[in-house]
Amino acid sequence: DAGVTQSPTHLIKTRGQQVTLRCSPKSGHDTVSWYQQALGQGPQFIFQYYEEEERQRGNFPDRFSGHQFPNYSSELNVNALLLGDSALYLCASSLGDRYPYAQYFGPGTRLTVT
């Protein structure tokens, strides 16, 4: 049973650039959530996608945007990168119509902005 996968593993970008991170959910899951985790902190919710729509959004600026594809995979885009965007970006998948439900996390993408 394939778990949640994310790519790339690591990424180094320059301030002002744009980045796209990718996520494939666990087999059978239809909902994808994105989180940002700074060093020494718990993950912070960015947004969630269900049925190709953004269902809920956390307190992140519009520079953070996403997309979900018909196969349930998802992308996170960040524009105009800031030094403070350096973090571990986590994707989590779940079943969108069952509450409450556990979210299963991928290995993360480590983004470094210089």
Binding site: Y35, P100, F105, G106
Partner: protein, 110 residues
């Protein structure tokens, strides 16, 4: 404002020395409480979901309990491989997001 607080921030145990990690929460309506284990540089690994006060779940050396204001993760006779950061998260009524605490960093030495 919904809030999750974990204590202690860090815990050092000798192998075999049992202990408990605490997660206290202040939320408007609890839908579920979740425990995760996270190894350095990796994504959180799901351990338990607790839905209502009085509920208990066990897995190997770990046991999670839930009251109306807090949850405990009891570690019995820990081994060095149990060393990790343990994260607690809540999901509240009317929302899909998980609200995490900052975690407890556990080190178990031989």
């Amino acid at each position: 404002e919904d809030q999750v607080t974990q204590s202690p921030e860090a815990l050092r145990l000798q192998e075999g020395e049992s202990s408990s990690l605490n997660c206290s929460y202040t939320v408007s309506g609890l839908r579920g409480l979740f425990w995760y284990r996270q190894d350095p540089g990796k994504g959180p690994e799901f351990l338990f979901t607790l839905y209502s006060a009085g509920e208990e779940k066990e897995k190997e050396r770990l046991k999670a309990t839930l009251t109306k204001k807090e949850s405990f993760l009891h570690i019995t006779a820990p081994k060095p491989e149990d060393s990790a950061t343990y994260l607690c998260a809540v999901q509240t009524e009317g929302t899909d997001k998980l609200i995490f605490g900052t975690g407890t960093r556990l080190q178990v030495f031989p």
